[in-house]
Subunit: 410 residues, 2 copies
């Protein structure tokens, strides 16, 4: 089963707060493995593979590698590339040219699909290769795995923000709409409710894309909470839309240059609830910070991200291939987990919504099942980097000489 | 000089991360002062005064009071009320009815003006009273004082955010526009540059409302930085507009002080730079979190906020009135400061812009003078509240019986 050669790893899609922990887990695991001769980093993921933009990860300073574990966002750079057939063939050429026998790819469902296609192509090209996907997405929508590394820290930031803006909204006696990432799945939005320290704490209403509510119901919900508490925080996913209404971005709200002034769901829904209730409403969109604000990261998430990177390398060397490393839950409370594996085919291009029974009947909160599932994933504050003042450590990215001609994507 | 009676304190305008530290400083100072018989909190600031919505702060649990020092946003509630003559007369009636001889008001320049008017009216009404303003604003635009409590923590959050989204932008090789609070003054925006750990760290360009640049210059600036670094983070104040181009805000969007509710600069400017450079640009608006995200608060800011509240009480009892407590800088490095005082008239309704010489000639960064001024104010991480999971302690707000008829504002 022993396969000696070089390895390559890349990061793909939207970065997360802990995606570098997976990378560092893989690098540190590979240090002591004889089968892996050289370990290349693909700069900007699959783009780096196609362009032969590779760096030598074993030439990075070990202290820097250790420190980068706590640095948010993809240290090797990332990309949003869905490789076509020609791209995959080019990737195989690059792998062969550099004697790459191990391919690790850190990403979401699209990246796992890319991984699976690489694996299939390697088999049909008669190039012995081990291909392992490493899970990552703040959306938490990967199937089979208990959770996706990156989710817990994004959720912890979003929950912290909801608690904070709740204080601001309460001081004014206002409404506040918070927009949270998630086009089709409401895991992150639901997590802000699951993390509430008390039933009265914000957010008081959460709307997930999985269950639509009518405009009338939402306004009634807000009125009732406002009457009870004197303020109300409403958390919604960016994919929010009312039952029976297509979301319209008003063309009348443009500035003098003709640019839309609509700030997305938060601003739009804030206007809707202000008009519907007569109470002043403000709004915040948590935006890209959900992928990179490390000062409130989750320790459990960081540990899991590291473990899936480490296990990918160990298991590849042991002979496994065409799998994605998963998290398996052993127990809810105290939370116990270990790494498992699933075939890439089962996760490639698939996504997991919040189960209907984990959202309450009226569709404005999550249930106890969601809380039991979610709360452990946000446990512990991981990161003590004083990010306003300390410089983030960076890879030196020692480039490898190209062996092929330049590549033009279609 | 001894004046015995009751005291009242209120919080006004946009809350800050450390505004409760000023309140707690005042309460804890008053505990041991014989001249202050009862200490009332005005619920929702001047609104609470006018409506006689008062609570007894000496009945709050001392441990809770201590804990609230670290809780963001106004614990007594806030308001955005510019009192009219009739309102001020009503306030005097309330003060007389409750034997209030000490009035403390925590707020920005509008609130200091309200304070000054109360002080004048007390004199002309022959009601002996000590009136002291306590400075607060994330905008840092109060005159005379070295800085405004609330600024350092907002700046620290904004700087942390710029560092974080910089990682995300670098991973993609994108542009990123970050919108920071500040209608007319660029203190907060400038602070994100001042806090940079290295010259290459984000934000790479900052545009303050004090100096306008042309559309062409800004796009050239962005192109140059992008060519140098492979990504670029641009921080702008919400009041940003190009030289020679007025940005129009919808006249319907104004707050209770008549200030326009600005928004959408990030999205608009992001479109402009993407179009002008051909590089993908994304954007984030830091929004209300700048007033309430406590996990990255500044220790210096927290200490100063506490001190100005404490000194207000001490100095009022010693006989001072019609003043605002200030921060006086003794030394830059190591930063040394103490509290001072200035007449309310000098600060009322006045505002301090960033000096022209603290912004570089081309208007895209701050100078070393700004850095020397600003950096100490962001020093130290103050708050270890695990805000995603811990409940924020709250006042019990024991209400006082009303002694007057209900009041209707004009």
């Amino acid at each position: 089963m022993s396969l000696k050669g070089n390895a390559i790893i890349g990061q793909s899609g939207g970065p997360t707060i802990v995606i570098n922990a997976s990378l560092v887990g893989a690098i540190q695991a590979a240090w002591d493995i004889d089968e892996i001769d050289r370990f290349f980093g693909a700069v900007h993921g699959m783009d780096g593979v196609l362009n032969e933009d590779l760096c030598d990860l074993f030439r990075e300073d070990p202290d820097t590698v250790e420190a980068i574990k706590l640095v948010p966002s993809a240290g090797l750079g990332t990309c949003r590339l869905k490789p076509k057939d020609k791209d995959l063939e080019r990737a195989m050429e690059v792998f062969k040219a550099h004697d790459i026998r191990y391919f690790f790819y850190i990403g979401g469902d699209d990246s796992q699909l890319a991984c699976h296609r690489v694996s299939e192509l390697a088999k049909s090209s008669d190039w012995e290769m081990r291909v392992i996907g490493i899970p990552k997405t703040i959306d938490n929508n990967l199937v089979v795995t208990d959770c996706s590394p990156g989710f817990g820290s994004a959720a912890r930031y979003a929950a912290t923000c909801c608690q904070a803006v709740g204080r601001d909204a309460e001081a004014f006696g206002n409404l506040e709409v918070v927009e949270i990432m998630g086009r089709n799945e409401g895991w992150l939005t639901g997590a802000t409710s699951a993390a509430r320290p008390t039933p009265e704490a914000p957010p008081h209403l959460v709307y997930l894309p999985e269950v639509k509510v009518t405009r009338e119901q939402l306004i009634d919900d807000v009125k009732a909470k406002y009457d009870e508490l004197g303020y109300c925080v409403i958390a919604v996913s960016e994919g929010f839309a009312f039952e029976g209404e297509d979301r319209v971005t008003s063309s009348s709200q443009v500035d003098e240059f003709g640019h839309s002034r609509l700030g997305g769901v938060a601003q739009w829904l804030s206007d809707v609830v202000e008009e519907g209730t007569g109470v002043r409403s403000r709004h915040d969109k948590l935006g890209n910070l959900q992928r990179c604000f490390s000062a409130t990261a989750s320790q459990v998430d960081l540990d899991q991200a590291y473990a899936v990177g480490q296990k990918a390398v160990y298991w590849a060397v042991e002979g496994q291939t065409d799998i994605m490393v998963t998290i398996e839950r052993e127990n809810d409370d105290p939370y116990q987990w270990e790494c498992g594996a699933t075939s890439l085919m089962t996760v490639a291009g698939a996504s997991k919504a919040v189960p209907r029974e984990w959202i309450n009947e009226t569709g404005n909160d999550v249930t106890e099942e969601f809380v039991t599932y979610c709360k452990p994933l946000l446990t512990g504050r991981a990161c003590e980097l004083d990010t306003g003042f300390s410089s983030f450590p960076k890879f030196r990215l020692h480039r490898i000489d190209c062996k092929l001609c330049a590549y033009e994507r279609e």
